[in-house]
Symmetry: C2
Subunit: 467 residues, 2 copies
């Protein structure tokens, strides 16, 4: 795509005003450098509009001139969907208003530049709960998590970002404003186009605001870690937990090697279980009834012991202990880094295929890369595994990291055979699209391309991202 | 669109074989006559393929020849999305296999021609619950309820059809098979095109099979009817019920006039409340814990009495009584018909706008049509009201029915001003699209048309339906 001419740059500047843009390399740098230092982008100008109308006017200029645009949220994603390589970079970080909080409707309307943490706080201020929660929530933005359809730890109960959006306001690739901020839970009047924008990684438009679902604050909470022998037992435990709670459990799976690496590398962590088992599951229950979460947990653990699914269990006695349990799970990524880094795979499987995946992937990787260590954790309820591989003890981390595509091919081929997904949570961005093409149904890819070409015939929106 | 030539008809016949088509007027008649007798369609041929491949081959022929197709489910919808006026009619009613039921995954894969009731039974056979439930469930099909994104009575807890679909198999307008039956709860690898097909009313393809979410069977259930003065009090009651249950309540709103009409016209109904109040709410709670639903209901009713929200309450003492309570709600449509028919409006509102809607709509209608009676009922939790109008006592029903557009305009204008939807559950079909155009954001309509033209450039799929 052509670089924007000086005249176009000037027009964008005059639309957005002095606070609405920068070309200062020092200010742009943090926006185009990845948090792990893995890659670096560049842009002729960073735009920071203050209103949806300004976004629309800026996009209209780019559409008229055929100039490419990359939208960026909190710069926390994995696969470089938000990295410009010469595109105009646009950030919503001056659009962070909480437009409305309506506790009686269980809805809030917020602008795209608000961080996830700020959105959670706005809900809490109205005695409500906004469940989307992930490690980067202090910087990840509402627009970013919607555009990438982020998941996080509350998926089983509340769903992914897609499930939490009632309505969207966005600017389409032609510069028109999509007025879809309706606060309705039911509306059958044509195609539900918000679902196209959600997870589109900025290729079909720029999300400027969203009407988000809120939930009641829970009145009881119970957290436990249990030890078990196999992923198959974990699946049966999941079924027990769902039956006992009517579907409200939130279990996270962790492998023993991952736990050991976490215990070894992260300060102030300790094993909640007395006896090490090959797998552990962290379960959290919540309820609107005081005491019900605790009773539910006791029933689940009782059932599971009786059926021989678990061999050990630790129930958190208070919030501090619950936080300790969660810390083990949440620090797995940091532990991996400390232990030598390696490769990450963000896969999902049909639940019943999960045990086979774990066995086959381990076997195949080990055959190719002797001595590797696995840090496996993830959201059991939705079959999402962060299936990460740490270099063998003593290996040279950079040399191992360089072989990541070789490892990914092995893992992804097994995922493909088992009808899973090679990107459960983190999207495809610039870096994973080629890989995804190996596994996607060509009819679906062709349909995606047709839809994209219909809405963005010049392909100016994030042109290097997705199909 | 051109009528299919004899050669095309012959080609379709040879693809589908002798059991796969009919031109017998007696067999076609029940397919092209509406259940209320409100309209009648016609078709040169009814196709009943037995496999997805047959559907694909038939659609490919139509695409090649530019012949229009109308897909039909159980022929139970409201707005004639499934009525051919000269199009080839295609039904999935020979494709009703339950391909897989996977209780450990809480997933079943079923074909589009299965009825909703059969789908519920298949789930129950595996000790699971499939929650989509509506009056026509004995004839409505899985493909039909997905294509219309049907709602029903379990929405607040489980969502509409859209929320229950994990994956879809479909035949696109070009005759290609969309292989999207993945049983994944998380998959971020490009646009989620199943959401385009859901609710598209057969305009973007033909759904042939679906992977559906299942849920645990609940272990306790409590049902109550409460009396209250205003819709505003009902909203506060909803908030209380959500807080006490963590979101698991399922309240239905009913107006007094509707209840009286039901009591007068439907045998074996009786008022659960001792004292008549202007509004009543039917609440149902379920829980995975034995006894928890009953305890939850007691807390809700206790809170609500204490806050002065409700003046009377009746709690079902057993399943028979609960069924009686539900009967009052479920027979409202039949009662309306018996009382003289009239008009139906299927609207949804932002929850906090619901009281204003009820007041304004009643005032405006009454000013224009003195003596009308209202049958108002609906799914409180999602702001969906079936806002139905019965002719004044003594009015001539046919004359009143003939003024339905006049009434709809009044109701829909108020819905539009309050940012609601004029079709919450029943879609637009052939009959409501023009009306919807008055209220839809033109940018969204243009985007829908662009997407449709991209996937169906000849507009052969259900050409008279939607935009």
């Amino acid at each position: 795509m052509p670089a924007p001419s000086p005249a176009v740059i000037d027009e964008l500047k005059s639309i957005l005003g002095p606070k609405g843009w920068t070309q200062d390399a020092d200010l742009i740098a943090p926006r185009v450098v990845e948090w792990r230092g893995a890659w670096e982008g560049n842009t002729p100008i960073l735009l920071t509009p203050s209103s949806t109308e300004e976004v629309a006017r800026a996009v209209a200029v780019c559409a008229r001139e055929g100039v490419a645009i990359t939208p960026q949220g909190g710069n926390t994603g994995w696969w470089a969907a938000r990295f410009p390589t010469g595109e105009v970079l646009i950030s919503m970080n001056r659009m962070r208003a909480v437009r409305r909080v309506l506790p009686l409707e269980d809805v809030m309307v917020v602008e795209a530049g608000l961080t996830l943490k700020e959105a959670q706080d706005a809900a809490a201020g109205a005695d409500r709960f906004f469940p989307l929660s992930l490690a980067a929530e202090g910087t990840a933005t509402v627009g970013g998590v919607i555009s990438t359809n982020a998941g996080g730890t509350a998926v089983l109960r509340y769903g992914v970002a897609r499930d939490l959006v009632l309505g969207l306001e966005a600017v389409l690739p032609n510069g028109e404003i999509f007025h879809g901020l309706k606060r309705l839970r039911k509306d059958n009047t044509g195609y539900d186009l918000k679902h196209l924008l959600i997870g589109a990684e900025g290729t079909l438009g720029i999300v400027t605001a969203a009407a988000l679902k809120l939930f009641p604050v829970m009145r009881s909470r119970a957290t436990a870690v249990v030890g078990l022998e196999t992923p198959a037992a974990a699946l049966e435990l999941l079924a027990v937990a769902k039956a006992e709670t009517g579907g409200g459990a939130r279990p996270e799976l962790m492998n023993r090697q991952g736990i050991e690496i976490c215990l070894a590398h992260i300060p102030d962590t300790r094993d909640p279980l007395d006896t090490p088992t090959p797998w552990a599951v962290l379960i959290e229950l919540v309820s609107g009834e005081p005491g019900a979460a605790e009773r539910g947990m006791e029933r689940i653990l009782g059932d599971a012991f009786e059926r021989g699914l678990i061999s050990d269990a630790a129930m958190a006695q208070n919030a501090t202990q619950a936080a300790q349990f969660w810390r083990l799970r949440e620090e797995m990524s940091a532990a991996q880094k400390a232990a030598g880094g390696g490769w990450k795979h963000d896969v999902s499987l049909p639940l019943t295929a999960l045990p086979e995946f774990v066995e086959r992937a381990h076997g195949a990787l080990n055959a190719q890369f002797e001595g590797i260590r696995l840090v496996t954790f993830g959201h059991l309820g939705d079959g999402n595994l962060h299936y990460n591989v740490v270099p063998p003890v003593g290996a040279y981390p950079k040399a191992f990291a360089a072989r990541k595509d070789e490892g990914a091919r092995i893992v992804h081929d097994i995922v493909g055979e088992l009808e899973g997904s090679i990107s459960a949570e983190h999207g495809l961005g610039r870096l994973k699209t080629e890989e995804a093409l190996r596994y996607k149904d060509p009819v679906q890819v062709a349909a995606m391309r047709a839809v994209r070409a219909a809405l963005d015939p010049q392909r100016i929106m994030n042109p290097s991202v997705l199909f």
